[in-house]
Amino acid sequence: MNKEIENTLFVNGQTVEIADEPNLLEVIRKANIDLPTFCYHSELSLYGACRLCIVELEGKGVVASCSVQPEPGMEVRTHTAALREMRRTTLELLLANHPQACTTCAKNTQCKLQDLAQRFGIEDVVFNRPVKERPIDDSNPALVRDPNKCVLCGDCVRFCAEVQNVGAIDFANRGAQVTVTPAYNKGLGDVACVFCGQCAAVCPTGAITPNSAEQDVMAAIDDPETTVVAQLAPALRVALGEEFGYDPGTSVTWQMVAALKRLGFDKVYDTSFAADLTVIEEAGEFIERMDEGGERLPQFTSCCPAWIKTAEHFSPDLLPHLSSCRSPQQMFGSLARRTLPEQLNTTPEKLVVVSIMPCTAKKYEATREEFHQNGKPDVDHVLTTRELAGIIRGAGLRFQDLEPESFDLPLGFKSGAGVIFGNSGGVSEAVVRYAHEKVTGERSPEVDVHAVRGEEGVREAQISMGDRTVRMAVVHGLANAQRLTEQVRQGTCPYDFIEVMACPGGCIGGAGQPVSFDENIRQKRKAGLYAVDKGLQVHHPQDNPYVAASYRDAIGEIGGEEAHDMLHTTYKTRQRIAGQELSLANSEATGQQLEVDVCLGTSCFLKGSQDLLQALAKYINTNELGEHVEVKASFCHQKCGRGPVVKIGDKTFEHADFDTVRGTIDEVMQNS
């Protein structure tokens, strides 16, 4: 056999070379045949359940091409009558179970099921929904789940478990009852979901979608009493265009501003301005932590709310390592609520701040109580990139033909550092641009961020600043981030500064963006952001005159008390399942018993709270205290840094051990 034949196979008679494709499906796609799939995603493990990718293999019959290794000489057919029939049947079965509600579905025109039904020319469907309607889950501001639209491909489950290592959703039940759900059928808002929205991005149908704020925003615009301002995230400008036929990565900044003005926004500002503030505060904090000797290093970035929530659920012991900086969205909100009412001749109550973000987690972030002033959120509504596209289309604006307009001042002026925030690695680079000059008095050289050998998903850079060498790591994907938190715990983490973004490629791959899992498109968006950076006059946040003015007029000293008040925040530990408690009561509660509550949350658990609880339980049993003492275990007292945490009556003990707890119980018993 000559070399050529060794490495080729035949797709419908056409010769195709096998390179390093992991499966037959990829080889067939390389031959420009777009086989349909639901359950195949190149970044996820194989599932092989949807059976749409079937092909006929000479000598083997019908196989799922996603689950077959390509071998030289294989003869593959992709479009025989039998295959067409089988695919049709699969689709018809799915459609028969599917709510016929395309016109009102958030995924209308972007749905894979709809698309395939069209491609296969399916005209009638025997409507036959055997199971009862399942309730819709809108328990949270970020995402809506409609399990009735689920085709059980499992893409969301695998993304959440494999790429994010969160595991908030999984298959449950069996037979006709199978569904994808959070634990105990709870809403996503009551479990450890971090609202990254990547499940919605991979979902081929409308079973998980961003929770739309379109109506609220339009109502605010219609209200003559209010002044409505917008802040636009960096990543938006290089992706919104895709919704209107531009190439990925094309910057449509000025049309975007024009569109918002036409829609009735009173002012249009740039979140990149706030990103400049973030750089300054975060770099300041970093320098401080280096100076104090490194106990709070590595410093993790804090601009990704999905990452923050992950840390709060899964790494509560490391919260002191998070930068205390608010994200750019929230820095903007805080500053806007304080300074804009006077500038715009309105009151804080009548100012409506709308953010437009590439992200679903930002919808949740805006509702965090830390970001409220006088009971009102700093950011009132958050739209995604795609929601904005929908509003623009709905208003009938011809996006391509809009006369460009520019951002309003002062909160619309930014440096390039604030723009590159939108891609993975950008925050680190921006922080270096500032910190280097701060420490050495000189402009920073170019930062070379490169992949770390053997550490997939982690990139690193080394920068010397004066006599110090700073090691930085850049990760995207929460599973990668959690590998680094584990290293920090083990004391083996070599980095000083770690940038984390939950989404593939950073915010440019956010779940609010036009959906794409194509690495090329992400690269183009990233290149687009760097092009915008190049095109600006200012590349360093310290050169932004409006930032300087804000410090002078509103914020005060960098890292000072007021800055902390306005631009920084605090974090808290979060339970995995909201409000759960394990009662170990021996008898019916009488209300008279002394309550002893031992934390069994992840962190206390690791610190030995289970042994404590067992010892305590034994003690109470042998001394027959059951009538007087009620022992309970709850899943988090939100003080994980200081576990094990035990509450006895209304007193809380940190770092508790058995003797202290026993002593206290004895004391209370004697006194009563």
Partner: protein, 161 residues
């Protein structure tokens, strides 16, 4: 006794080496202790085995012999295998459910006294239709006989205070 139960759960976890691959045996043994799988206990198991609660919930709802609801003191199991079905087991089922006033979503009475379930085959087809109540087996059951069993239990319970 709840404290004892908790200790037993910890024991089970230790015996299974806190190995996530041993989830199913852990659940089986824990269900023996509680009679069902309480949600909080599932979360505790998830924490101990380092698995997401959603995964543990998925496994617990996949196998028919796991139950997440507490069962009644008296569990009526009615065989719905072919032989019993042919001999009218569904009439018996309806009679039992009517008598106990169970709604469509309910298998257990709200006082947690009775649970009614069907099983696929009790392996006593010669006696069809077959019903078990806890450990006792009843053969050739009729709707009347079945409801009488309930009456008897209620009477006994009352007599014993």
């Amino acid at each position: 006794m709840a404290v004892k139960k908790f200790e037993d759960v910890c024991d089970i976890l230790d015996r299974q080496g806190r190995n996530p691959a041993r989830l199913i045996p852990v659940l089986q043994e824990v269900q023996k202790i509680y009679g069902y799988l309480p949600e909080e206990v599932l979360t505790f198991i998830a924490t101990s085995l380092d698995l997401p609660p959603a995964r543990v919930y998925g496994v617990a709802t996949f196998y028919a012999h796991f139950t997440l609801e507490p069962k009644g003191r008296y569990v009526f199991r009615l065989c719905d295998g072919t032989a019993c079905h042919v001999k009218g087991s569904s009439d018996i089922l309806n009679a039992l459910r009517d008598k106990l006033g169970l709604s469509e979503e309910q298998d257990t009475t709200s006082d947690k006294m009775f649970t009614v379930e069907t099983v696929s085959c009790l392996g006593a087809c010669g006696l069809a239709p077959v019903m078990t109540v806890n450990e006792s087996v009843y053969g050739q059951v009729t709707p009347e006989k079945a409801t009488e069993v309930i009456d008897e239990i209620v009477k006994n319970e009352e007599d014993n205070g």
